[in-house]
């Protein structure tokens, strides 16, 4: 296997890290630019408009704060899932990964309630620039959450078979999935005050 895809669990002699981890970081760098462009669009729309509502006037701060706590907790659980594998405790890994998945589903549930409330009050992406950028940013973030759920569910379910044959490689995969998940958390940390509080 090592001849087919080199350095998947042993560090590359040049970079000092596995190719998978390096690739994950490069992917995250491109994601920073994607969200950066949208934040830039937000600034341009807000600065250029004659009037702009404060986030707390139009949106539910309490729900967003609850989602922030849920995401922060999921960041700890996924790092603890990786710690469990490092300590050779596979059962603990399953528990922490399960908690991460529960938190991500809870986040989506709260977000759905929030969206339903907005639709109920006739607030759609085309209603105003404020709601346009609100739905774009939070919607793109929610899509990232769904992507994370798919990957994490695979790693907790069928993908976990790799633990028996190559634990080092499996631990590396969890580390990469964790990096992605922390990035999703990081984006929300900046989205929350920008959209909801300012």
């Amino acid at each position: 296997m090592d001849e087919l895809i080199p350095y998947i669990y042993k560090p590359h002699p040049v970079t000092g890290i596995t190719n998978g981890k390096f690739g994950t970081w490069l992917f995250l760098a491109s994601e920073v630019m994607l969200f950066g462009a949208l934040f830039s669009a937000y600034i341009m729309l807000r600065v250029g408009s004659e009037s702009w509502p404060h986030g707390y006037q139009e949106l539910h701060v309490a729900w967003a704060a609850l989602n922030t706590v849920v995401l922060i907790f999921s960041s700890v659980t996924i790092v603890m899932a990786w710690v469990s594998l490092k300590l050779n405790k596979f059962t603990n890994f399953r528990i922490y990964m399960g908690l991460t998945l529960l938190c991500s589903l809870a986040f989506l549930a709260v977000k759905s309630v929030e969206y339903m409330d907005k639709f109920h009050h006739q607030h759609y992406p085309w209603t105003s620039n404020f709601f346009g950028i609100y739905f774009t940013l939070t919607g793109l973030h929610a899509i990232h959450i769904i992507g994370g759920i798919v990957v994490n569910a695979y790693l907790m379910g069928p993908g976990a078979k790799l633990w028996k044959t190559n634990p080092e490689q499996f631990t590396g995969r969890i580390e990469c999935a964790g990096l992605y998940w922390h990035f999703v958390d990081l984006v929300w940390i900046f989205l929350f005050p920008t959209i909801y509080l300012l």
């Binding site: 830039s40 707390y56 710690v83 509080l197």
Partner: protein, 119 residues
């Protein structure tokens, strides 16, 4: 981070400590949000708190403190371009101030520009 099992064990307490700090900072962000400060102060306070939280997540959870140099260099380059993208609106506004609006409407009475004919 390629840490051994012993090193990882030592970090567990740190992870839960960071979780506690993030919760406190979230509470502070919400409290500041409800204070309805003047917009420039609200931006400064919220950004400082968000940057602190981001540093904690990146530094401890993503193991950037003590990460390989190649990753740090890639991220430094990303941060540079990220701020360049963020500053684009400012650059455009300054351009407008010096040379006039970039997308200004045509002056009244001027002949409409014809679209090029398609072949």
């Amino acid at each position: 981070m390629s840490a051994s099992a012993e090193e990882v064990k030592k970090h567990v307490k740190t992870y839960w400590g960071v979780f506690g700090a993030l919760l406190v900072l979230t509470a502070v962000t919400v409290a500041v949000g409800y204070k309805h400060l003047p917009i420039h102060w609200a931006i400064i306070v919220c950004l400082v708190i968000a940057l602190t939280k981001g540093t904690l997540v990146g530094g401890y959870f993503m193991h950037l403190f003590g990460e390989k140099k190649i990753i740090l260099w890639c991220l430094a380059l990303t941060v540079f371009f990220f701020f360049l993208v963020l500053l684009l609106p400012v650059i455009v506004v300054q351009e407008d101030a010096v040379t006039g609006p970039m997308w200004s409407p045509a002056p009244a009475g001027s002949a409409p520009v014809e679209a090029p004919a398609h072949e």
